[in-house]
């Protein structure tokens, strides 16, 4: 921006070769390219949304056959899919609650205190974030098989908490490191006991980090296929059901559910951003 502004505009009649070349790149080629890439990244989303309105016969939702709202009306017409979506939502809520509580506690411990074993925490959290999902799923399955723990709802929750805990910890820790310790000291000087200080001062200040961690956990949990596929036993979640359906044809109800989840997620993200902007402004 500034680099362009400080340079003199080229004479209109005779374009000097050096300056237009620069402008062609930054004004035309790169922005066009970026927008094309954004279009490419959005293409499967557009297709998903549009074909949720396709008046298709049977399961093969391949070519455009005309507009219909039938699939919005018959959203819950496929029992297995509905059960999968319900399982995913219930699991995501439980996982988010557990993960946020545990992750906030570790985040506080790591962000605020120096203690023996801190390095081990850091190492485990770094490994948990960078380990491939496949390895997380495979190793948890190895554990459950070895101790002969029946796989199902509980093992899915355990696995989802295990892979999202590190992310919440990191998010909350970043927030803790940015806290002004004077605020808490001021509260204590004014006679607040540690618990009151935590509840009235620390927790509200950490809230944005905790909310971000909660949203991330919910999104990771509801979307997970890889780890879940190892530990789900007979329980089907939404991604597991959809993956199975890709072999025989994905019914349009999946497009509709995907569209609704997409709009919900985008709505929350945009609302969050607008709220943050208003608080700042």
């Amino acid at each position: 921006m500034t680099t362009i502004a400080t340079r003199e505009a080229p004479p209109e009649a005779a374009p000097a070769p050096a300056v237009p070349a620069r402008r062609r790149w930054t004004r035309l080629i790169l922005p066009t390219y970026t927008w094309l890439m954004i279009l490419y990244l959005s293409l499967p989303i557009l297709v998903m949304i549009v074909f949720g309105f396709n008046d298709t016969k049977g399961r093969l939702n391949l070519r455009w056959q005309g507009f219909t709202l039938n699939w919005y009306r018959d959203l819950f017409a496929i029992p297995g899919l509905t059960t999968g979506l319900r399982n995913s939502l219930v699991i995501a809520v439980i996982v988010t609650i557990i993960t946020v509580v545990l992750g906030t506690m570790i985040g506080l411990a790591l962000g605020r205190y120096r203690f023996r074993g801190k390095g081990a925490y850091d190492l485990v959290i770094f490994s948990a974030i960078s380990a491939p999902e496949l390895v997380l799923g495979a190793s948890l399955l190895s554990l459950f098989v070895t101790v002969q723990f029946v796989r199902g709802f509980v093992t899915i929750v355990i696995a989802h908490v295990a892979f999202s805990l590190a992310f919440v910890t990191v998010t909350v820790r970043a927030r803790v490191l940015g806290l002004d310790p004077d605020l808490e000291e001021a509260a204590q000087d004014l006679g607040a006991d540690p618990w009151t200080t935590f509840r009235k001062i620390t927790l509200p200040l950490l809230a944005p980090g905790i909310v971000a961690g909660a949203l991330l956990t919910f999104a990771l949990s509801i979307d997970d296929y890889v780890v879940t596929s190892f530990v789900n036993g007979q329980v089907e979640t939404f991604p597991i059901w959809v993956y199975g359906a890709t072999r025989i044809g994905v019914p349009p109800q999946v497009n509709v559910m995907g569209t609704l989840i997409f709009l919900g997620g985008v709505g929350i993200a945009v609302g969050n951003a607008l709220l943050a902007r208003r608080q700042r402004g």
Binding site: M105, I125, P132, V135, A138, Y225
Partner: protein, 289 residues
């Protein structure tokens, strides 16, 4: 802040303990169990016993080296394509995005609001033999009737590239955005051409982002099995598909554990060698960022 009293000193242990135990029991222990399982012998009916069964590793390589090698090759190709596709985008947004930088980033992250499996299924739909792209092209005779993209390497590599491209853009953007534009100005003032200013100033300064981007793309791509499972066929099977099948269908847990461990070890060694080649300072800078 900690008052030095007994209770204050215990606080970090107490509040860190529940989460720490969860990670210990459900992340650290499982990896050790998997290591132990990979050295056991037996079968799923009679149970498994620990017998230092190193042959599991030899078997894993003998039976499935094709899929191992294929996964690494795919991951190298996909990482390379992602880097080439992502860099110009990240560069333009970082230097010329102006007030709308975060809007562009949000648009690039839009795919993450759709389930990974649905996104990939959507590509299966787009690339279908009779679908919205190939169907019309075949109807007008531009493509032969038996032309297909699904079940080919092209489809799997395309799907992987699509799904992991945003992972590459973000670290590149972060690194490029931190570069002070006046450094580029200074290069120009010192009569550097645009190309050499990029080559000698911008690109070297963006290397930590390249390093991070390559890592967070390569590792998940090499172990991915969703793209190959949905878009691929028998000729595109990756090691992740094999591991999943051997665990869940064959119930040959020792062999599957050995393969998972080999994959993890290969990725760790790869990361280490790569980090050494690029210089430790950059690694430190990335891990601090």
């Amino acid at each position: 802040m900690s008052t030095g009293g007994g209770r204050g000193r215990l606080t970090p242990y107490l509040i860190g303990l529940p989460g720490g135990l969860w990670l210990a029991i459900f992340f650290v222990v499982p990896i050790l169990v998997m290591l132990s399982l990979s050295l056991q012998s037996g079968n799923s009916e009679e149970g498994f016993r620990f017998t230092w069964e190193w042959s599991n590793y030899a078997d894993a390589w003998e039976f499935y080296h094709t899929q191992f090698v294929r996964s690494i090759v795919y991951a190298l190709i996909v990482t390379g394509i992602c880097l080439l596709l992502a860099y110009p985008m990240a560069y333009w947004i970082a230097f010329y995005g102006g007030a709308r930088k975060s809007t562009y980033l949000f648009l690039i992250l839009l795919p993450f609001f759709v389930s990974f499996v649905i996104r990939t299924a959507s590509w299966k739909f787009i690339l279908n033999d009779q679908g919205i792209v190939l169907g019309p092209l075949k109807d007008v005779g531009l493509l032969p009737e038996d032309f297909h993209l699904l079940a080919t390497s092209t489809a799997v590599i395309g799907g992987l590239t699509y799904n992991y491209l945003p992972f590459m853009v973000l670290p590149l953007y972060v690194a490029l955005e931190r570069i002070d534009p006046s450094l580029v100005e200074a290069a120009h003032d010192l009569f550097a051409s645009r190309a050499s200013a990029f080559r000698r100033v911008v690109f070297p300064l963006s290397l930590p982002g390249v390093f991070a981007g390559v890592l967070i793309t390569f590792v998940p791509v090499a172990s991915d099995f969703v793209n190959s499972g949905i878009l691929g066929g028998t000729q595109t099977t990756m090691i992740g598909n094999v591991i999943q099948t051997v665990y869940l269908t064959n119930n040959d847990y020792p062999l599957a554990s050995a393969m998972s461990f080999m994959l993890m070890a290969a990725l760790l060694v790869g990361i280490f060698v790569y980090a050494r080649a690029l210089g430790t300072e950059q690694v430190m800078e990335v891990s601090q960022a």
